[in-house]
Protein backbone atom coordinates (compact mmCIF):
# COMPACT_ATOMS: atom_id res chain seq x y z
CA UNK A 1 0.00 0.00 0.00
CA UNK A 2 1.51 3.37 -0.99
CA UNK A 3 2.08 5.99 1.70
CA UNK A 4 0.63 8.59 -0.62
CA UNK A 5 -1.59 8.15 -3.63
CA UNK A 6 -2.76 11.33 -5.35
CA UNK A 7 -4.99 11.28 -8.42
CA UNK A 8 -5.96 14.18 -10.65
CA UNK A 9 -5.39 16.73 -7.91
CA UNK A 10 -6.41 20.22 -8.96
CA UNK A 11 -6.46 23.56 -7.25
CA UNK A 12 -7.80 26.78 -8.67
CA UNK A 13 -7.57 29.83 -6.44
CA UNK A 14 -10.12 32.62 -6.31
CA UNK A 15 -9.39 34.82 -9.27
CA UNK A 16 -8.85 31.83 -11.52
CA UNK A 17 -5.16 31.03 -10.96
CA UNK A 18 -4.72 27.30 -11.52
CA UNK A 19 -1.98 26.20 -9.12
CA UNK A 20 -2.37 22.44 -9.70
CA UNK A 21 -3.50 21.02 -13.02
CA UNK A 22 -4.30 17.38 -12.33
CA UNK A 23 -1.39 15.95 -10.35
CA UNK A 24 -0.97 12.17 -10.24
CA UNK A 25 1.66 11.00 -7.78
CA UNK A 26 2.42 7.89 -5.76
CA UNK A 27 4.96 7.65 -2.96
CA UNK A 28 5.72 4.20 -1.60
CA UNK A 29 5.82 3.44 2.10
CA UNK A 30 9.32 3.87 3.55
CA UNK A 31 10.48 6.11 0.71
CA UNK A 32 12.55 9.26 1.13
CA UNK A 33 11.00 11.36 -1.59
CA UNK A 34 11.96 14.78 -2.93
CA UNK A 35 9.49 17.19 -4.45
CA UNK A 36 11.29 19.86 -6.41
CA UNK A 37 10.21 22.79 -8.48
CA UNK A 38 10.81 26.49 -8.99
CA UNK A 39 9.06 29.07 -6.87
CA UNK A 40 5.37 29.26 -7.74
CA UNK A 41 5.36 25.78 -9.30
CA UNK A 42 2.68 24.49 -6.92
CA UNK A 43 4.75 22.63 -4.30
CA UNK A 44 3.40 24.49 -1.28
CA UNK A 45 -0.17 24.25 -2.58
CA UNK A 46 0.31 20.51 -3.01
CA UNK A 47 1.69 20.09 0.50
CA UNK A 48 -0.99 22.41 1.89
CA UNK A 49 -3.68 20.12 0.46
CA UNK A 50 -2.02 17.00 1.89
CA UNK A 51 -1.86 18.67 5.33
CA UNK A 52 -5.47 19.97 5.14
CA UNK A 53 -4.37 23.61 5.15
CA UNK A 54 -5.55 24.25 1.60
CA UNK A 55 -8.93 23.21 0.17
CA UNK A 56 -8.49 21.24 -3.03
CA UNK A 57 -10.64 21.96 -6.06
CA UNK A 58 -10.75 18.37 -7.30
CA UNK A 59 -9.06 15.00 -7.21
CA UNK A 60 -8.37 12.27 -4.68
CA UNK A 61 -5.78 12.12 -1.89
CA UNK A 62 -5.18 8.81 -0.17
CA UNK A 63 -2.71 8.40 2.68
CA UNK A 64 -1.90 4.78 3.57
CA UNK A 65 -5.06 3.80 1.73
CA UNK A 66 -7.35 6.21 3.59
CA UNK A 67 -9.28 8.78 1.57
CA UNK A 68 -8.78 12.32 2.85
CA UNK A 69 -12.43 13.17 2.10
CA UNK A 70 -13.88 10.12 3.83
CA UNK A 71 -11.65 9.76 6.90
CA UNK A 72 -10.01 13.18 7.31
CA UNK A 73 -9.17 12.70 10.99
CA UNK A 74 -7.40 9.39 10.36
CA UNK A 75 -5.47 10.87 7.43
CA UNK A 76 -4.41 13.82 9.57
CA UNK A 77 -3.17 11.48 12.30
CA UNK A 78 -0.90 9.74 9.73
CA UNK A 79 0.79 12.98 8.65
CA UNK A 80 3.36 15.18 10.38
CA UNK A 81 4.02 18.55 8.76
CA UNK A 82 7.11 20.73 9.02
CA UNK A 83 5.96 23.90 7.26
CA UNK A 84 8.12 26.35 5.39
CA UNK A 85 7.17 29.39 7.50
CA UNK A 86 7.47 29.58 11.26
CA UNK A 87 4.03 29.16 12.78
CA UNK A 88 4.41 29.34 16.53
CA UNK A 89 2.89 31.21 19.39
CA UNK A 90 6.05 33.18 20.11
CA UNK A 91 5.21 33.69 23.77
CA UNK A 92 5.03 30.01 24.68
CA UNK A 93 7.97 28.06 26.05
CA UNK A 94 9.47 25.41 23.77
CA UNK A 95 8.20 22.40 25.71
CA UNK A 96 4.66 23.75 25.84
CA UNK A 97 4.55 24.07 22.04
CA UNK A 98 5.34 20.37 21.67
CA UNK A 99 3.11 19.20 24.54
CA UNK A 100 0.16 21.24 23.23
CA UNK A 101 0.63 19.80 19.75
CA UNK A 102 0.47 16.30 21.21
CA UNK A 103 -2.70 17.33 23.04
CA UNK A 104 -4.36 18.44 19.80
CA UNK A 105 -3.70 14.92 18.50
CA UNK A 106 -5.44 13.47 21.55
CA UNK A 107 -2.34 12.30 23.39
CA UNK A 108 -2.80 12.55 27.19
CA UNK A 109 -0.62 15.16 28.89
CA UNK A 110 1.53 12.69 30.83
CA UNK A 111 2.44 10.76 27.68
CA UNK A 112 2.82 14.02 25.75
CA UNK A 113 5.45 15.21 28.21
CA UNK A 114 7.40 11.96 27.84
CA UNK A 115 7.33 12.25 24.05
CA UNK A 116 8.21 15.95 24.13
CA UNK A 117 11.28 15.16 26.23
CA UNK A 118 12.30 12.37 23.84
CA UNK A 119 12.09 14.47 20.67
CA UNK A 120 13.48 17.64 22.21
CA UNK A 121 16.49 15.64 23.40
CA UNK A 122 16.93 14.02 19.99
CA UNK A 123 16.96 17.43 18.35
CA UNK A 124 19.22 19.01 20.99
CA UNK A 125 16.53 21.33 22.29
CA UNK A 126 15.95 19.91 25.76
CA UNK A 127 18.23 22.48 27.41
CA UNK A 128 16.06 25.19 25.87
CA UNK A 129 12.74 23.66 26.93
CA UNK A 130 11.72 26.63 29.08
CA UNK A 131 12.87 29.29 26.62
CA UNK A 132 10.16 31.36 24.98
CA UNK A 133 9.86 30.72 21.26
CA UNK A 134 10.65 34.32 20.30
CA UNK A 135 14.09 33.96 21.90
CA UNK A 136 15.14 31.01 19.73
CA UNK A 137 17.38 31.39 16.68
CA UNK A 138 16.08 30.46 13.22
CA UNK A 139 17.95 27.13 13.22
CA UNK A 140 16.54 26.13 16.60
CA UNK A 141 13.05 27.05 15.49
CA UNK A 142 13.46 24.80 12.43
CA UNK A 143 14.52 21.90 14.67
CA UNK A 144 11.60 22.56 16.98
CA UNK A 145 9.21 22.36 14.03
CA UNK A 146 10.53 18.85 13.39
CA UNK A 147 10.08 17.86 17.05
CA UNK A 148 6.55 19.26 16.99
CA UNK A 149 5.70 17.37 13.79
CA UNK A 150 6.98 14.09 15.24
CA UNK A 151 5.33 14.18 18.65
CA UNK A 152 2.30 12.20 17.47
CA UNK A 153 4.65 9.75 15.70
CA UNK A 154 3.36 10.13 12.14
CA UNK A 155 3.90 7.47 9.50
CA UNK A 156 4.37 10.14 6.82
CA UNK A 157 6.53 13.18 7.53
CA UNK A 158 6.27 16.10 5.11
CA UNK A 159 9.00 18.73 5.27
CA UNK A 160 8.63 21.93 3.30
CA UNK A 161 12.15 23.34 2.95
CA UNK A 162 13.21 22.26 6.43
CA UNK A 163 16.77 23.53 6.22
CA UNK A 164 16.10 26.92 4.64
CA UNK A 165 18.25 29.54 6.32
CA UNK A 166 20.08 27.24 8.73
CA UNK A 167 23.84 26.97 8.94
CA UNK A 168 25.74 24.03 7.46
CA UNK A 169 26.38 22.32 10.79
CA UNK A 170 22.73 22.29 11.79
CA UNK A 171 21.73 21.28 8.27
CA UNK A 172 24.07 18.26 8.36
CA UNK A 173 22.81 17.22 11.80
CA UNK A 174 19.23 17.49 10.54
CA UNK A 175 20.13 15.31 7.56
CA UNK A 176 21.53 12.67 9.86
CA UNK A 177 18.40 12.81 12.01
CA UNK A 178 16.10 12.50 9.00
CA UNK A 179 18.09 9.57 7.58
CA UNK A 180 17.75 7.74 10.89
CA UNK A 181 14.05 8.53 11.02
CA UNK A 182 13.56 7.15 7.51
CA UNK A 183 15.62 4.09 8.35
CA UNK A 184 13.22 3.54 11.25
CA UNK A 185 10.33 3.25 8.78
CA UNK A 186 8.93 6.77 8.53
CA UNK A 187 8.09 7.77 4.97
CA UNK A 188 9.48 11.23 4.24
CA UNK A 189 8.49 13.74 1.56
CA UNK A 190 10.81 16.69 1.30
CA UNK A 191 10.78 19.91 -0.68
CA UNK A 192 14.01 21.82 -0.78
CA UNK A 193 15.83 24.57 -2.61
CA UNK A 194 19.13 22.84 -1.88
CA UNK A 195 19.32 20.26 -4.61
CA UNK A 196 22.39 18.79 -2.97
CA UNK A 197 20.02 17.96 -0.11
CA UNK A 198 17.67 16.05 -2.38
CA UNK A 199 20.57 14.24 -4.07
CA UNK A 200 22.09 13.31 -0.74
CA UNK A 201 18.93 12.23 1.10
CA UNK A 202 16.28 11.09 -1.32
CA UNK A 203 15.77 7.89 -3.31
CA UNK A 204 12.96 9.12 -5.53
CA UNK A 205 12.08 12.45 -6.91
CA UNK A 206 9.30 14.38 -8.61
CA UNK A 207 9.72 17.71 -10.31
CA UNK A 208 6.67 19.89 -10.32
CA UNK A 209 6.44 22.84 -12.68
CA UNK A 210 3.51 25.04 -13.63
CA UNK A 211 1.20 22.88 -11.52
CA UNK A 212 2.10 19.63 -13.29
CA UNK A 213 4.50 16.78 -12.63
CA UNK A 214 7.34 17.31 -15.09
CA UNK A 215 9.29 14.24 -14.02
CA UNK A 216 8.88 11.36 -11.55
CA UNK A 217 11.77 8.99 -11.25
CA UNK A 218 14.54 7.75 -8.97
CA UNK A 219 17.43 10.06 -8.16
CA UNK A 220 19.89 7.44 -9.44
CA UNK A 221 18.25 7.07 -12.85
CA UNK A 222 17.95 10.83 -13.15
CA UNK A 223 21.64 11.31 -12.49
CA UNK A 224 22.48 8.60 -15.03
CA UNK A 225 21.06 10.85 -17.71
CA UNK A 226 23.95 13.23 -17.37
CA UNK A 227 26.37 12.76 -20.25
CA UNK A 228 29.01 15.17 -19.11
CA UNK A 229 30.55 16.33 -15.87
CA UNK A 230 32.40 19.59 -15.30
CA UNK A 231 35.18 20.02 -12.75
CA UNK A 232 37.05 23.10 -11.60
CA UNK A 233 40.72 22.39 -10.77
CA UNK A 234 42.98 24.55 -8.61
CA UNK A 235 46.49 24.21 -9.96
CA UNK A 236 49.78 24.26 -8.06
CA UNK A 237 51.64 26.32 -10.66
CA UNK A 238 50.60 29.00 -13.12
CA UNK A 239 49.36 27.82 -16.49
CA UNK A 240 51.01 29.66 -19.34
CA UNK A 241 49.38 27.76 -22.18
CA UNK A 242 46.18 25.70 -22.38
CA UNK A 243 47.19 22.07 -23.12
CA UNK A 244 45.30 19.90 -25.60
CA UNK A 245 43.97 16.79 -23.83
CA UNK A 246 42.09 14.30 -26.01
CA UNK A 247 38.50 13.71 -24.82
CA UNK A 248 38.53 16.65 -22.41
CA UNK A 249 37.36 20.19 -23.06
CA UNK A 250 39.53 22.65 -21.17
CA UNK A 251 39.08 26.29 -20.34
CA UNK A 252 41.32 28.38 -18.08
CA UNK A 253 39.32 30.55 -15.72
CA UNK A 254 42.51 32.30 -14.57
CA UNK A 255 46.21 31.45 -14.48
CA UNK A 256 45.78 28.91 -11.66
CA UNK A 257 42.25 27.65 -12.27
CA UNK A 258 41.21 25.23 -14.97
CA UNK A 259 37.75 24.10 -15.94
CA UNK A 260 37.47 20.62 -17.45
CA UNK A 261 34.38 19.16 -19.10
CA UNK A 262 34.47 15.42 -19.61
CA UNK A 263 32.06 12.87 -20.97
CA UNK A 264 30.95 9.83 -18.98
CA UNK A 265 33.17 7.62 -21.16
CA UNK A 266 36.23 9.12 -19.48
CA UNK A 267 37.38 8.72 -15.88
CA UNK A 268 38.88 11.15 -13.40
CA UNK A 269 41.94 8.86 -13.28
CA UNK A 270 42.35 9.34 -17.01
CA UNK A 271 42.09 13.11 -16.57
CA UNK A 272 44.80 13.14 -13.91
CA UNK A 273 47.09 10.94 -16.01
CA UNK A 274 46.72 13.34 -18.95
CA UNK A 275 47.35 16.35 -16.72
CA UNK A 276 50.45 14.69 -15.20
CA UNK A 277 51.81 13.96 -18.68
CA UNK A 278 51.57 17.68 -19.37
CA UNK A 279 53.30 18.56 -16.08
CA UNK A 280 50.19 20.06 -14.50
CA UNK A 281 49.81 19.49 -10.75
CA UNK A 282 46.40 19.80 -9.12
CA UNK A 283 45.91 21.01 -5.52
CA UNK A 284 42.14 20.48 -5.35
CA UNK A 285 39.04 20.00 -7.47
CA UNK A 286 35.30 20.50 -7.17
CA UNK A 287 32.20 19.94 -9.28
CA UNK A 288 31.34 23.07 -11.13
CA UNK A 289 27.69 22.55 -10.38
CA UNK A 290 25.53 20.18 -8.40
CA UNK A 291 24.56 17.43 -10.82
CA UNK A 292 20.92 17.29 -9.86
CA UNK A 293 20.73 21.04 -10.08
CA UNK A 294 21.90 20.89 -13.66
CA UNK A 295 19.31 18.32 -14.63
CA UNK A 296 16.64 20.21 -12.79
CA UNK A 297 17.42 23.40 -14.67
CA UNK A 298 17.39 21.57 -17.96
CA UNK A 299 13.99 20.03 -17.23
CA UNK A 300 12.39 23.21 -16.02
CA UNK A 301 13.72 24.96 -19.06
CA UNK A 302 12.53 22.23 -21.41
CA UNK A 303 9.03 22.47 -19.97
CA UNK A 304 9.09 26.22 -20.29
CA UNK A 305 10.15 25.79 -23.91
CA UNK A 306 12.55 28.67 -23.68
CA UNK A 307 15.22 27.04 -25.79
CA UNK A 308 17.87 27.67 -23.14
CA UNK A 309 20.47 24.92 -22.86
CA UNK A 310 23.37 26.22 -20.83
CA UNK A 311 24.36 24.35 -17.69
CA UNK A 312 25.25 27.57 -15.91
CA UNK A 313 22.52 28.65 -13.51
CA UNK A 314 23.35 32.25 -14.25
CA UNK A 315 21.99 31.68 -17.74
CA UNK A 316 18.85 29.99 -16.50
CA UNK A 317 15.42 31.55 -16.83
CA UNK A 318 14.27 33.46 -13.74
CA UNK A 319 11.98 30.71 -12.49
CA UNK A 320 14.75 28.16 -12.67
CA UNK A 321 17.38 30.45 -11.16
CA UNK A 322 15.26 31.19 -8.10
CA UNK A 323 15.18 27.58 -7.04
CA UNK A 324 18.92 27.49 -6.49
CA UNK A 325 19.13 30.92 -4.85
Amino acid sequence: MPALDVQQLTKTYKGGFQALKGIDLTVEEGDFFALLGPNGAGKSTFIGILASLVNKTGGIVRVFGEDQDRTPELVKSFIGLVPQEFNFNLFLPVVEVVVNQAGYYGIPRREAKVRAERYLKQLDLWDRRDTEMRKLSGGLKRRLMIARALVHEPRLLILDEPTAGVDIEIRRSMWTFLRELNAGGTTIILTTHYLEEAESLCRNIAIINHGEIAERTSVASLLNRLNTETFVLNLKGRLSELPQLGGFVLQNLDDCTLEVEMSREHTVNGLFEALSRNGIEVISLRNKQNRLERLFLEMVDRRAGAGWSSSDPADAPDAAREVIA
Binding site: Y13, S52, N55, E73, P83, E85, Y105, G106, I107, P108
Partner: protein
Protein backbone atom coordinates in the same frame (compact mmCIF):
# COMPACT_ATOMS: atom_id res chain seq x y z
CA UNK B 1 -0.54 6.10 18.27
CA UNK B 2 -1.50 4.46 21.57
CA UNK B 3 -5.03 5.38 22.72
CA UNK B 4 -5.36 7.79 19.82
CA UNK B 5 -7.85 5.50 18.17
CA UNK B 6 -10.42 6.01 20.92
CA UNK B 7 -12.44 8.82 19.35
CA UNK B 8 -14.27 10.46 22.23
CA UNK B 9 -11.37 10.16 24.61
CA UNK B 10 -9.05 11.69 22.00
CA UNK B 11 -11.51 14.53 21.37
CA UNK B 12 -11.77 15.17 25.10
CA UNK B 13 -7.96 15.49 25.34
CA UNK B 14 -7.94 17.88 22.35
CA UNK B 15 -10.68 20.00 23.91
CA UNK B 16 -8.92 20.01 27.26
CA UNK B 17 -5.67 21.12 25.63
CA UNK B 18 -7.29 24.08 23.85
CA UNK B 19 -9.32 25.03 26.93
CA UNK B 20 -6.35 24.91 29.34
CA UNK B 21 -4.21 26.81 26.83
CA UNK B 22 -6.86 29.55 26.72
CA UNK B 23 -7.18 29.68 30.52
CA UNK B 24 -3.40 29.94 30.89
CA UNK B 25 -3.31 32.68 28.27
CA UNK B 26 -5.70 35.05 30.03
CA UNK B 27 -4.53 34.26 33.56
CA UNK B 28 -0.89 34.77 32.54
CA UNK B 29 -1.73 38.32 31.44
CA UNK B 30 -4.42 38.97 34.10
CA UNK B 31 -3.39 42.62 34.40
CA UNK B 32 -4.54 43.11 30.81
CA UNK B 33 -7.49 40.72 30.85
CA UNK B 34 -9.12 40.66 34.30
CA UNK B 35 -8.09 43.83 36.10
CA UNK B 36 -9.35 46.51 33.65
CA UNK B 37 -12.96 45.30 33.89
CA UNK B 38 -12.77 45.18 37.67
CA UNK B 39 -11.42 48.75 37.84
CA UNK B 40 -14.01 50.07 35.35
CA UNK B 41 -16.96 48.53 37.15
CA UNK B 42 -15.64 49.71 40.50
CA UNK B 43 -15.74 53.24 39.08
CA UNK B 44 -19.29 52.63 37.83
CA UNK B 45 -20.34 51.52 41.30
CA UNK B 46 -18.70 54.54 42.93
CA UNK B 47 -19.93 57.18 40.46
CA UNK B 48 -23.30 55.86 39.21
CA UNK B 49 -24.16 53.73 42.20
CA UNK B 50 -23.06 55.85 45.13
CA UNK B 51 -22.58 59.47 44.03
CA UNK B 52 -25.37 59.77 41.41
CA UNK B 53 -27.41 56.74 42.46
CA UNK B 54 -28.20 58.15 45.89
CA UNK B 55 -29.91 61.12 44.22
CA UNK B 56 -31.82 58.94 41.71
CA UNK B 57 -33.55 56.88 44.37
CA UNK B 58 -35.20 53.70 43.07
CA UNK B 59 -35.36 52.11 39.62
CA UNK B 60 -37.67 49.22 38.76
CA UNK B 61 -38.55 48.93 42.43
CA UNK B 62 -34.89 48.60 43.52
CA UNK B 63 -32.27 50.96 44.94
CA UNK B 64 -30.39 52.31 41.93
CA UNK B 65 -27.13 50.69 43.01
CA UNK B 66 -28.87 47.32 43.34
CA UNK B 67 -30.54 47.88 39.97
CA UNK B 68 -27.27 48.36 38.08
CA UNK B 69 -25.40 45.43 39.67
CA UNK B 70 -26.74 42.70 37.32
CA UNK B 71 -26.14 44.82 34.23
CA UNK B 72 -22.59 45.71 35.21
CA UNK B 73 -21.76 42.07 35.99
CA UNK B 74 -23.18 40.99 32.66
CA UNK B 75 -21.39 43.81 30.85
CA UNK B 76 -18.08 42.43 32.15
CA UNK B 77 -19.07 38.91 31.10
CA UNK B 78 -20.11 39.99 27.59
CA UNK B 79 -17.07 42.15 26.91
CA UNK B 80 -14.55 39.64 28.20
CA UNK B 81 -16.04 36.49 26.69
CA UNK B 82 -16.10 38.24 23.32
CA UNK B 83 -12.69 39.86 23.45
CA UNK B 84 -10.93 36.73 24.74
CA UNK B 85 -11.96 34.64 21.75
CA UNK B 86 -11.62 37.36 19.14
CA UNK B 87 -8.11 38.31 20.21
CA UNK B 88 -6.86 34.78 20.88
CA UNK B 89 -8.22 33.24 17.69
CA UNK B 90 -7.23 36.17 15.52
CA UNK B 91 -3.69 36.11 16.98
CA UNK B 92 -3.47 32.43 16.10
CA UNK B 93 -4.50 33.30 12.53
CA UNK B 94 -2.15 36.27 12.32
CA UNK B 95 0.88 34.31 13.57
CA UNK B 96 -0.28 31.20 11.72
CA UNK B 97 -0.17 28.88 14.72
CA UNK B 98 -3.81 28.07 14.01
CA UNK B 99 -2.16 25.64 11.56
CA UNK B 100 -1.09 23.56 14.57
CA UNK B 101 -4.79 22.83 15.09
CA UNK B 102 -5.80 22.61 11.45
CA UNK B 103 -3.30 19.85 10.68
CA UNK B 104 -4.37 17.88 13.75
CA UNK B 105 -7.28 15.43 13.80
CA UNK B 106 -9.21 17.64 16.26
CA UNK B 107 -12.64 18.08 14.60
CA UNK B 108 -14.04 21.55 14.00
CA UNK B 109 -16.58 21.29 16.79
CA UNK B 110 -13.80 20.50 19.27
CA UNK B 111 -11.79 23.52 18.12
CA UNK B 112 -14.87 25.73 18.42
CA UNK B 113 -15.83 24.29 21.82
CA UNK B 114 -12.29 24.78 23.14
CA UNK B 115 -12.09 28.44 22.17
CA UNK B 116 -15.66 29.21 23.25
CA UNK B 117 -15.17 27.49 26.61
CA UNK B 118 -11.97 29.46 27.13
CA UNK B 119 -13.71 32.75 26.32
CA UNK B 120 -16.72 31.89 28.47
CA UNK B 121 -14.36 31.01 31.33
CA UNK B 122 -12.77 34.47 31.18
CA UNK B 123 -16.22 36.06 31.05
CA UNK B 124 -17.30 34.13 34.13
CA UNK B 125 -14.09 34.91 36.04
CA UNK B 126 -14.60 38.62 35.36
CA UNK B 127 -18.31 38.32 36.24
CA UNK B 128 -17.37 36.77 39.57
CA UNK B 129 -14.75 39.45 40.22
CA UNK B 130 -17.27 42.22 39.48
CA UNK B 131 -19.79 40.51 41.74
CA UNK B 132 -17.24 40.49 44.57
CA UNK B 133 -16.61 44.20 44.02
CA UNK B 134 -20.37 44.83 44.08
CA UNK B 135 -20.54 43.12 47.49
CA UNK B 136 -18.36 45.89 48.87
CA UNK B 137 -21.03 48.43 47.94
CA UNK B 138 -24.25 46.53 48.52
CA UNK B 139 -25.67 43.29 49.84
CA UNK B 140 -26.09 40.63 47.15
CA UNK B 141 -28.93 38.17 47.64
CA UNK B 142 -29.48 35.64 44.89
CA UNK B 143 -33.14 35.11 44.11
CA UNK B 144 -32.60 32.02 41.94
CA UNK B 145 -29.19 30.35 41.76
CA UNK B 146 -30.22 28.19 38.80
CA UNK B 147 -31.46 31.14 36.70
CA UNK B 148 -28.43 33.24 37.64
CA UNK B 149 -25.88 30.59 36.69
CA UNK B 150 -27.73 29.54 33.55
CA UNK B 151 -28.13 33.09 32.22
CA UNK B 152 -24.57 34.16 32.95
CA UNK B 153 -23.14 30.98 31.39
CA UNK B 154 -25.35 31.12 28.31
CA UNK B 155 -24.54 34.80 27.82
CA UNK B 156 -20.81 34.08 28.09
CA UNK B 157 -21.10 31.27 25.53
CA UNK B 158 -23.16 33.41 23.15
CA UNK B 159 -20.69 36.28 23.09
CA UNK B 160 -17.71 33.95 22.92
CA UNK B 161 -19.30 32.59 19.72
CA UNK B 162 -19.71 36.15 18.49
CA UNK B 163 -16.02 36.78 19.13
CA UNK B 164 -15.13 33.62 17.23
CA UNK B 165 -17.07 34.71 14.14
CA UNK B 166 -15.50 38.17 14.31
CA UNK B 167 -12.03 36.58 14.48
CA UNK B 168 -12.78 34.34 11.49
CA UNK B 169 -13.64 37.34 9.31
CA UNK B 170 -11.00 39.72 10.73
CA UNK B 171 -8.12 40.58 8.45
CA UNK B 172 -6.37 43.03 10.75
CA UNK B 173 -6.21 43.97 14.42
CA UNK B 174 -8.46 46.93 13.59
CA UNK B 175 -11.16 44.50 12.51
CA UNK B 176 -11.30 42.91 15.94
CA UNK B 177 -12.05 46.20 17.68
CA UNK B 178 -14.75 47.46 15.31
CA UNK B 179 -17.56 45.19 16.54
CA UNK B 180 -16.89 45.71 20.28
CA UNK B 181 -16.74 49.48 19.80
CA UNK B 182 -19.60 50.06 17.37
CA UNK B 183 -21.95 47.16 18.12
CA UNK B 184 -21.29 45.57 21.49
CA UNK B 185 -20.91 48.70 23.62
CA UNK B 186 -24.05 50.46 22.29
CA UNK B 187 -26.10 47.26 22.62
CA UNK B 188 -24.93 46.81 26.19
CA UNK B 189 -25.51 50.43 27.23
CA UNK B 190 -28.96 50.40 25.60
CA UNK B 191 -29.73 46.95 27.01
CA UNK B 192 -31.23 48.12 30.28
CA UNK B 193 -28.02 48.10 32.31
CA UNK B 194 -28.55 51.58 33.74
CA UNK B 195 -32.30 52.07 33.33
CA UNK B 196 -35.58 50.25 33.15
CA UNK B 197 -37.21 50.33 29.71
CA UNK B 198 -40.40 51.42 31.48
CA UNK B 199 -38.81 54.88 31.50
CA UNK B 200 -38.80 54.98 27.70
CA UNK B 201 -41.67 56.16 25.48
CA UNK B 202 -43.69 53.37 23.88
CA UNK B 203 -41.91 53.46 20.52
CA UNK B 204 -38.43 53.23 22.07
CA UNK B 205 -39.59 50.45 24.36
CA UNK B 206 -40.47 48.53 21.19
CA UNK B 207 -37.08 49.30 19.67
CA UNK B 208 -35.34 48.18 22.86
CA UNK B 209 -37.08 44.80 22.62
CA UNK B 210 -35.05 44.15 19.45
CA UNK B 211 -31.85 44.32 21.51
CA UNK B 212 -30.85 40.80 22.62
CA UNK B 213 -28.72 42.16 25.47
CA UNK B 214 -31.90 43.51 27.10
CA UNK B 215 -33.19 39.95 27.54
CA UNK B 216 -29.96 38.74 29.07
CA UNK B 217 -29.67 41.66 31.49
CA UNK B 218 -33.27 41.29 32.59
CA UNK B 219 -33.07 37.52 32.96
CA UNK B 220 -29.91 37.94 35.03
CA UNK B 221 -31.60 40.65 37.09
CA UNK B 222 -34.45 38.25 37.71
CA UNK B 223 -31.98 35.58 38.83
CA UNK B 224 -30.34 37.92 41.30
CA UNK B 225 -33.23 40.12 42.42
CA UNK B 226 -36.43 38.53 41.21
CA UNK B 227 -37.48 41.48 39.01
CA UNK B 228 -37.45 41.76 35.22
CA UNK B 229 -38.88 43.99 32.49
CA UNK B 230 -39.58 40.95 30.33
CA UNK B 231 -40.65 37.31 30.91
CA UNK B 232 -37.61 35.16 31.80
CA UNK B 233 -38.78 32.23 29.67
CA UNK B 234 -38.69 34.39 26.56
CA UNK B 235 -35.20 35.59 27.51
CA UNK B 236 -33.92 32.01 27.77
CA UNK B 237 -35.55 31.11 24.47
CA UNK B 238 -33.94 34.04 22.68
CA UNK B 239 -30.47 33.41 24.13
CA UNK B 240 -30.73 29.71 23.20
CA UNK B 241 -31.78 30.53 19.63
CA UNK B 242 -28.87 32.96 19.24
CA UNK B 243 -26.42 30.35 20.58
CA UNK B 244 -27.76 27.77 18.16
CA UNK B 245 -27.62 30.09 15.15
CA UNK B 246 -24.12 31.43 15.90
CA UNK B 247 -22.85 27.95 16.78
CA UNK B 248 -24.08 26.41 13.53
CA UNK B 249 -22.76 29.38 11.55
CA UNK B 250 -19.32 29.10 13.24
CA UNK B 251 -19.10 25.42 12.35
CA UNK B 252 -20.12 26.21 8.78
CA UNK B 253 -17.32 28.79 8.55
CA UNK B 254 -14.79 26.33 9.96
CA UNK B 255 -15.91 23.59 7.59
CA UNK B 256 -15.55 25.92 4.61
CA UNK B 257 -12.22 27.17 5.98
CA UNK B 258 -13.32 30.80 5.68
CA UNK B 259 -10.50 33.09 6.78
CA UNK B 260 -8.21 30.22 7.73
CA UNK B 261 -7.74 28.15 4.58
CA UNK B 262 -7.13 29.12 0.98
Amino acid sequence: MSRQGVGWYRHWISFQTIFVKEILRFTRIWVQTILPSVITTTLYFVIFGRLIGDRIGTMGGLDYLDFIVPGLVLMGVITNAYSNVVSSFYSSKFSRYIEELLVSPAPNWVILAGYVAGGAARGLVVGLAVMLVAMIFTEIRIHSVAVTLLVITMTAVLFALGGFINAIYANSFDDISIVPTFVLTPLTYLGGVFYSIELLPGFWQGVSLANPVLYMVNAFRYGLQGVSDIPVGIAFGIIAIFILVLGVFSLHLLRRGVGIKT
